[in-house]
């Protein structure tokens, strides 16, 4: 009888452990888009969640990474194609464009003016706030390689890490909220 009970108890303990994994007060977000509006939304949600005392982990991949480039820095040892990619893609959060109504840059310039008028923080300011409030940023290594981005040309962000899909998956698995933007 006792052995039977002990077995049941162990089984229950294991089940509780499994359940607890998915209940962390944590937000995992893939930031895939390289558009001003979408990244702004991502950062507002991220900093908002941090204000809710949630642990926030952003996984920047593909076009999203362009917002993390530092225009003052330069990556070393790039081949011709990588150099071209670097030249053609936006150099940092100040250069990303609207996903709609860009109109050759006019729309983006206009929305930036409107954002200022409505006291909405710029992407750069949002990134700074995110860093201060403890939002974690992970960058997808594969995307960096594809586009020829180097770690040394990324902005100075506290604790920024280069990683792979496994990091995102293990973070996402234990998060209450998972988003893809």
């Amino acid at each position: 009888m006792n052995i039977e009970l002990e077995k049941q108890f162990q089984e229950l303990q294991e089940r509780v452990k499994k359940l607890e994994i998915g209940t962390k007060d944590q937000l995992s977000m893939v930031v895939f888009s390289g558009d001003l509006d979408k990244i702004l939304a991502a950062l507002i949600i991220a900093t908002g969640a941090a204000a809710y005392d949630m642990k926030v982990k952003l996984f920047f991949t593909f076009w999203g990474i362009t917002a993390l480039r530092d225009p003052k820095k330069k990556g070393k040892g790039k081949n011709l194609i990588e150099e071209m990619f670097g030249m053609m893609l936006p150099k940092g959060a100040g250069k990303v464009k609207l996903s709609k109504m860009n109109m050759g840059g006019m729309g983006t310039a206009m929305i930036k003016g409107i954002m200022k008028k409505h006291k909405v923080a710029s992407l750069k300011e949002m990134l700074k706030t995110a860093g201060e409030i403890g939002v974690e940023i992970n960058i997808c290594e594969m995307s960096m390689n594809l586009m020829g981005f180097k770690k040394e040309e990324m902005i100075d962000y506290p604790g920024v890490t280069i990683c792979g899909v496994a990091t995102f998956l293990s973070d996402a698995q234990e998060s209450k909220i998972q988003l893809f933007i």
């Binding site: 507002i44 900093t47 908002g48 941090a50 204000a51 809710y52 005392d53 409505h118 923080a121």
Partner: protein
């Protein structure tokens, strides 16, 4: 709490988030709450309409007690007690 009672409250800290848009007031509240002790009162100034819905929700989640809102001409004053 009635408006009169709220007006007579003596907050332990006042956070002025006027002129910031979402999520500015929320971030300001998060920063301010770290500077007071449990049971103390914080007042938030905000000119952002959404804050009036956001801060009560935030309080609920963080288990702070939301005390109420006083409307001024161009902004709102939100009161809460830290859990």
């Amino acid at each position: 709490m009635t408006t009169e009672e709220l007006r007579n409250l003596k907050p332990n800290t006042i956070v002025d988030a006027r002129g910031t848009a979402c999520p500015g007031p929320l971030l300001a509240a998060k920063k301010g709450i770290g500077e007071i002790n449990s049971g103390e009162i914080m007042e938030i100034y905000s000119s952002d309409e959404g804050t009036k819905n956001d801060i009560p929700k935030w309080c609920q989640k963080m288990t702070h007690e939301f005390l109420g809102i006083v409307e001024e001409d161009s902004y709102s004053r939100l009161f809460l007690k830290k859990a």
